[in-house]
């Protein structure tokens, strides 16, 4: 049986377009406000959403997502709130695939099997664990497999070809290709590393390859959509909410609009 994530990606492919994948941390700016914001991403046109588990030490995130994580943690967000967010979004939008993106230690501490079980029970489709390399992932992948969850691994421009083969063989759902070397954050240009990485990744796998890190505008989304199966946008959404400065209605309108523009972008390829 195809997973939810594979189904959604296959449906986008059948429409001859790239999928749009949006990221927001849970609990940002509040737990309920965060649920509304993620729902707005889906309503604006995201096919897949990644719900971030805010962390005290987000070493792979730039200033924008660090700020959002800080706000969420100071607001007291807990893992149970992240799972609640997943459940609410999955229930409101059964057509979308809902992923969790988290650093490894919260999962490790919560209990690997327990986290997989609770994420699946909440209606989650899978997990992205950016600081858990394939070599350390066996326990997680076993638990995820038992609960029908996909595990999306990240590949980077620095990944050598033999390494790409190992990583893509271990993953499922899609492969997350990092467009640039660096942390999350918007960038003026996507650069040419991404296209080369996607080509090298495709040589090792049948899985869809989606590109993220630095993508923020509809034009960039269209550019990436010309060579990738999905376009991942995070910091640009977070920035819209920060810019709304506490005005929740304005924040929701802004992220919905951006999602709509990006959704057009991924259809323009």
């Amino acid at each position: 049986m195809a997973s939810k994530l594979s189904e959604v990606l296959a449906a986008a492919k059948a429409e001859n377009r790239a999928a749009l994948i949006g990221y927001l941390p849970a609990g940002f700016p509040t737990v309920e406000g965060g649920i509304e914001a993620v729902n707005a991403l889906v309503e604006g046109g995201c096919d897949i959403v990644e719900i971030g588990l805010p962390h005290s030490d987000p070493v792979l995130d730039g200033a924008t997502i660090q700020t959002a994580d800080d706000i969420a943690l100071r607001g007291g967000v807990r893992i149970k709130d992240v799972l609640h967010t997943v459940a609410e979004v999955a229930a409101a939008h059964p057509e979308a695939a809902v992923l969790v993106m988290t650093y490894w230690n919260p999962v490790d501490r919560y209990g690997v099997a327990r986290f997989a079980a609770d994420l699946a029970a909440a209606g989650g489709a899978g997990c992205i664990l950016p600081d858990l390399p394939v070599e350390e992932s066996e326990e997680w992948r076993k638990a995820a497999g038992e609960h029908g969850l996909d595990t999306v691994f990240v590949v980077a421009p620095s990944s050598k070809d033999h390494r790409l083969a190992e990583v893509t063989a271990a993953g499922s759902g899609f492969v997350y290709a990092a467009a640039v070397m660096g942390v999350t954050g918007t960038r003026a240009q996507v650069g040419n590393l991404a296209e080369d990485l996607v080509a090298r990744t495709r040589a090792t796998t049948e899985l869809p390859v989606c590109v993220g890190l630095g993508v923020s505008t509809p034009a960039q989304a269209a550019e990436v959509a010309s060579f990738a199966d999905g376009v991942i946008v995070g910091s640009a959404f977070v920035q819209r909410i920060l810019d709304a400065d506490g005005d929740q209605a304005a924040a929701l309108a802004a992220v919905r609009t951006l999602a709509g523009e990006l959704a057009e972008g991924v259809r323009r390829r």
Binding site: S56, N105, R163, G182, V183
Partner: protein, 409 residues
């Protein structure tokens, strides 16, 4: 690696960098190639006589090794009469043990063809040692330091800048060592082609815990022979402070097979290990993953890191090297909490009885030795790692003890 066969059946670390259940390599894919390159280059360097010769030459003629062993008789009187011997890493060039590891990794950087070095620093001693090596070898140098630490270790910020390094004050999180490490990792991910991350303690992803330990092993190798020559026998205990744990691993390692020698690490207990304001990771933490390895971490039920507190910037860290986690669980080493006040009293005592002003970090080990000496009595010999000198801490000490003129500060 036969010297590592110190517990039955254990090869530590194993090929994946595990010391028992601790260690490993929890890093983003973007860093995998760079970390593998460090591991491969280090394995090659280890067996290359030219590397050993160059490093030995630097340790001798630049650092000033071997560092002396000092009998501190007046101080010993306060330690229950036990004979206390100090291994004088404070007399190394740049003023602490940190230079041992820095020179090793600087040579490795040259072999890897990289031109830029970044590092984190807490007390500033690792930053100063790194800036020093970068000046010597002609590397570009950027040092990340928590904003709180740039203030309490201002002298070392000036030293780093004098040496030509860029010092970046990190304003995120607790604004201390943990956050400086986060920021250094962010830099490394973006600049990994040109840049080596010269990690300053025995934590981080494999091979850093092993490699940094190996570069500091010289402390224990020298000290073990010096104690034998001086006293005709092995010490009863070896005591060192533990932040990330590099000076402690350096002095412990050679003694691990000596079952009769107790190994005692002193952690910073801040205002008390029973209060929320401490950095006693092995005493109060739980196993988890921080900064690339599985180890003990001060963390909450959700796996969020809890901020640490210590008067000592170099020990103010909510993680610890994985080999210490393993030594704790196996029982081969013991770890004790030492409060800010115990450390400051020991700092003053050594200053006034021996004319040696230690770093506040090292003063935690001295406080541990005072306690242990009173437990063991006058027959005992205690070897202490005096990991650094206290110049950088004079502002903190002056405020603590009211040493400034009343008109002054």
């Amino acid at each position: 690696m036969s010297e590592n066969d110190y517990l039955p059946g254990a090869q530590v670390p194993d090929a994946r960098g595990y010391f028992g259940a601790y260690g490993g390599r929890f890093i983003p894919e973007a860093l995998v190639a760079a970390v593998e390159q460090v591991a491969e280059e280090y394995e090659k360097a280890k067996t290359d006589p030219a590397f050993a010769a160059e490093l030995d030459g630097l340790l001798k003629d630049y650092t000033g090794r071997p560092s002396p062993l000092t009998d501190v008789r007046r101080f010993s009187a306060e330690a229950g009469g036990a004979r206390v011997l100090l291994k004088r890493e404070d007399l190394n060039h740049t003023g602490s043990h940190k230079i041992n590891n820095v020179l090793g990794q600087a040579l490795l950087t040259k072999r890897m063809g990289k031109t830029r070095i970044i590092a984190e620093t807490g007390a500033g001693q690792h930053g100063v040692a790194t800036a020093t090596a970068c000046a010597l070898f002609g590397f570009d140098c950027t040092i990340y330091m928590g904003e709180v630490d740039t203030q309490r270790q201002a002298l070392n910020v000036a030293r780093m800048r004098m040496l030509g390094a860029e010092v970046i004050a990190v304003k995120s999180g607790s604004r201390t060592l943990k956050d400086a490490i986060n920021e250094a990792f962010r830099d490394w991910v973006a600049n990994v082609d040109s840049t080596h991350y010269l990690f300053g303690t025995v934590a981080g992803p494999h091979p850093f815990p092993m490699m940094v330990r190996d570069f500091h092993r010289v402390i224990g190798v020298e000290a073990r022979q010096q104690v034998l020559d001086r006293t005709g026998r092995l010490p009863d205990a070896v005591v060192a402070c533990v932040g990330g744990g590099s000076n402690a691993m350096g002095i412990f390692h050679e003694f691990i097979p000596d079952a009769g020698v107790r190994l005692i690490g002193c952690e910073a207990a801040g205002e008390g290990a029973e209060t929320p304001r401490h950095a006693a990771t092995l005493t109060k933490g739980d196993p988890g993953v921080l900064h690339g390895s599985r180890t003990y971490v001060l963390q909450d039920e959700d796996g969020q890191t809890i901020e640490s507190h210590s008067i000592s910037a170099g020990l103010d860290y909510p993680g610890v090297g994985p080999e210490h986690a393993w030594l704790k669980d196996t029982g081969r080493a013991e770890y004790r909490p030492v409060t800010d006040d115990q450390a400051m009293q020991a700092l003053r005592l050594l200053s006034r009885t021996e004319g040696i002003i230690p770093a506040i970090e090292s003063a935690h080990a001295l406080a541990g030795a005072l306690e242990l000496g009173r437990e063991l009595g006058p027959e005992a010999t205690i070897l202490v790692s005096l990991s650094g000198r206290g110049d950088k801490d004079m502002h903190t000490a002056a405020e603590y003890f009211g040493l400034y003129d009343s008109e002054g500060k």
